[in-house]
């Protein structure tokens, strides 16, 4: 299983170019069609947030996945981008500048980039733990300054703006959420293409080299510090674009944008999605935003589930969702995927029972201890459980214990089936 987690860059197949442009085209069409299929206000809001999260997570992966820089303060760029965007929007409205709303995210990007240019040189001097600690410190510093410098950051309440006060474009006022969604979708496409293109430039490849082995980079003529500085600048720019879009979306920028929670969110999204592949953070951003929106409605302890998911991914799938998906690619090519599928299906049932047991335990405890909550009844898959009844505790315990014991047996069979399938793929030359 060792090579299953290592990213394998595989041979380009014939027709690769058609497929390559096809993927981008499909993505663009999907972005256009999405609000036509799901047109409720709620889903438009969700899509807008997901779009912003995609740009933010991709920008973070320029650091983490591509250059090997672990940042705990990426939201600084996001937040500063948001604040600059709000100030520019207000200035445009006040002085009647002929600058339509769709250009505002560019100023968000400039805000994020400016901070990276000024502070990045010192910050990127070292990688690893030193860099991580500095980003943590800078993140706290900026977040706390934002509460002190009231004229710029607006204190606790933040700074508000009115996106419809800017000059209209194509007759769009950008008042309705649908128009804002399309503005965001446009910037998602542009940013994603730009960030993907960046990975295919000499600088992008050197970022990978610095990630893998900064010492060796020095002996092929490059200064790893300069490479890191460039990467930091690009990451800061696109984070700022995401921040600018958030400012447009909510018509406000406040200190929460800059804080550790936001920095944690983007690290979380990128990691869960998988940092070894370009599209990983996209999946992560979609999933994490969706979970955040969905879980907050369902349960009061949603952060606990986030923690469990994160620990699970770190321990069992360090390549993230993208890593899990891509490890099946050689099997698909070799035609041995059918060997593992039945074992997955067999494993799914007890694993689900185990998961339900864990959820029931958590919810029972949460409802039992939370006296001011909405009562002691837990609804799980349509069944009401009363948290004060011992039968509920017993059911949870049975699900956890029995589910886990049976699940472990089936997981072993998954591993065996996987080894068989991988051997076939290796024999047929699709797996190194």
């Amino acid at each position: 299983m060792t090579d299953a987690t290592a990213p394998l860059e595989l041979k380009e197949q014939p027709g690769g170019r058609v497929r390559f442009y096809g993927i981008w085209l499909i993505a663009a069409v999907a972005l256009i069609v999405l609000p036509l299929v799901f047109s409720s206000g709620g889903s438009l809001t969700s899509f807008s947030l997901i779009g912003i999260a995609i740009i933010f997570a991709l920008s973070y992966n320029i650091l983490l996945g591509q250059t090997g820089l672990l940042s705990f303060g990426h939201a600084v760029h996001y937040g500063l981008g948001g604040f600059l965007a709000v100030h520019v929007m207000n200035a445009v409205a006040n002085y009647n500048w002929p600058l339509p709303l769709p250009f505002i995210p560019l100023f968000g990007g400039i805000g994020g980039l400016a901070f990276a240019i000024v502070f990045g040189w010192v910050m990127t001097k070292r990688a690893g733990t030193v860099f991580a600690m500095i980003t943590l410190g800078i993140g706290e510093l900026v977040a706390s300054s934002s509460l002190i410098l009231r004229s710029v950051f607006g204190g606790e309440s933040g700074i508000t703006t009115d996106r419809t006060a800017l000059p209209h474009m194509f007759g769009w006022s950008f008042g309705p959420q649908r128009q804002v969604y399309y503005l965001i979708a446009f910037w998602v496409m542009v940013s994603a293409i730009a960030m993907y293109a960046l990975t295919r430039t000499p600088l992008g490849r050197l970022c990978n080299a610095v990630r893998d082995n900064p010492e060796r980079v020095e002996f092929i003529g490059y200064d790893p510090h300069v490479v890191r500085y460039f990467a930091y600048g690009f990451a800061g720019f696109f984070a700022g674009v995401a921040g600018g879009l958030t400012a447009i979306n909510f018509e406000i920028a406040n200190s929460a944008y800059l804080g550790a929670t936001q920095s944690g969110f983007v690290l979380f999204a990128a990691f869960i999605g998988g940092t070894a592949y370009f599209f990983g953070p996209i999946l992560g951003a979609i999933l994490v935003t969706y979970l955040q929106l969905g879980l907050t409605d369902l349960t009061t302890v949603w952060q606990l589930y986030f923690g469990i998911i994160f620990i699970g991914i770190v321990m069992f799938a360090p390549g993230g969702i993208a890593g899990l998906l891509m490890m099946h690619r050689p099997l698909v090519r070799a035609g041995s995927l059918a060997t593992v599928i039945p074992s997955y299906l067999v494993a799914a049932l007890p694993t689900l029972a185990f998961a339900l047991g864990v959820i029931l335990s958590i919810e029972t405890v949460a409802h039992y201890t939370d006296s001011e909550g909405e009562g002691s009844v837990v609804h799980l898959v349509g069944i009401p459980f009363d948290a004060v009844k011992p039968t509920t505790w017993l059911a949870a315990a049975v699900l956890v214990v029995v589910g886990f014991v049976i699940a472990r047996l089936t997981w072993r069979r998954v591993t065996e089936a996987w080894d068989r399938a991988a051997t076939i793929a290796r024999d047929r030359g699709y797996l190194a």
Binding site: T201, N208, E218, I220, G221, A432
Partner: protein, 249 residues
């Protein structure tokens, strides 16, 4: 003619311990120069000093006449000196092709370019292809370097070292850990690839040293005790006592 490498009274101390004491060494242009010596003599330290990996505590190192001591490794590399490492030091998660290509980019003038598509640089492509063929890894181009066999990684290491077109090549034990057949292959490869360039090599395998080198320097306890042609070194009494005798030659 100025020497390719000129080392004058170079010292290196780590705390109170002197690893290199008044090292003096000249390598002429186009020469294949081997540095031999017992374990702990300071061969790798000498390499690290020349390539800028560590800074000398005193003395002066010149490359083609210019002082390079105190410069950073990438500055020295840009002046035309490239080195390999004793412990394989490649970009493990990147493919073989990417490894070589990254080593070609600075020399072909692309620097930190973020506006060029790296797949559409004809000169880079051409040079990368040629080096892949030279090191016999064309068929493995899409395999991540970390998954290569040991011998293949050693060949890639040499490929990365020569890819920038440096005129001074330094190889640190290029055949360490190789089988007899692999060593022979590597020697042929090194000879061919360093044709017309200056080569400095550290090696333990005496058949490799005597097979490649025009001149040999013997380093013992941080000092060069003898320097000369292979025949001179073979006949040198001091060398036999200090080094070759121990190894049973």
């Amino acid at each position: 003619m100025t020497a390719a490498i000129e080392i004058k009274d170079v010292q290196k101390r780590f705390g109170n311990v002197s690893i290199i004491r008044d090292l003096n060494l000249n390598v002429a242009r186009g020469e294949r120069h081997a540095i031999i010596g017992p374990n702990g003599a300071g061969k790798s330290t000498t390499f690290n000093l020349i390539s800028g990996h560590i800074k000398p505590s005193g003395g002066e190192i010149r490359l083609n006449g210019d002082v390079i001591s105190g410069l950073r490794p990438f500055e020295i590399n840009r002046r035309g000196l490239s080195r390999s490492f004793q412990v394989t030091n490649v970009f493990a998660r990147m493919t073989v092709l990417e490894n070589v290509r990254c080593a070609v980019l600075w020399a072909t003038g692309h620097r930190y370019a973020f506006w060029k598509n790296v797949d559409r640089l004809p000169v880079v492509k051409q040079r990368t292809e040629r080096i892949l063929e030279d090191i016999h890894l064309s068929h493995r181009r899409d395999v991540p370097a970390g998954l290569l066999t040991y011998a293949e990684q050693r060949e890639l290491e040499i490929g990365i070292t020569i890819a920038g077109g440096a005129n001074v090549i330094m190889l640190d034990e290029p055949t360490a850990g190789m089988s007899h057949a692999e060593t022979e292959r590597a020697v042929t490869l090194i000879r061919r690839l360093t044709e017309g360039r200056t080569l400095v090599i550290v090696e333990h395998d005496m058949s490799v040293v005597f097979g490649i080198a025009d001149r040999i320097s013997v380093l013992v306890y941080g000092q060069i005790i003898a320097s000369g042609t292979p025949e001179e070194i073979r006949g040198n009494r001091k060398v036999r006592e200090a080094y070759l005798g121990e190894e049973g030659h």
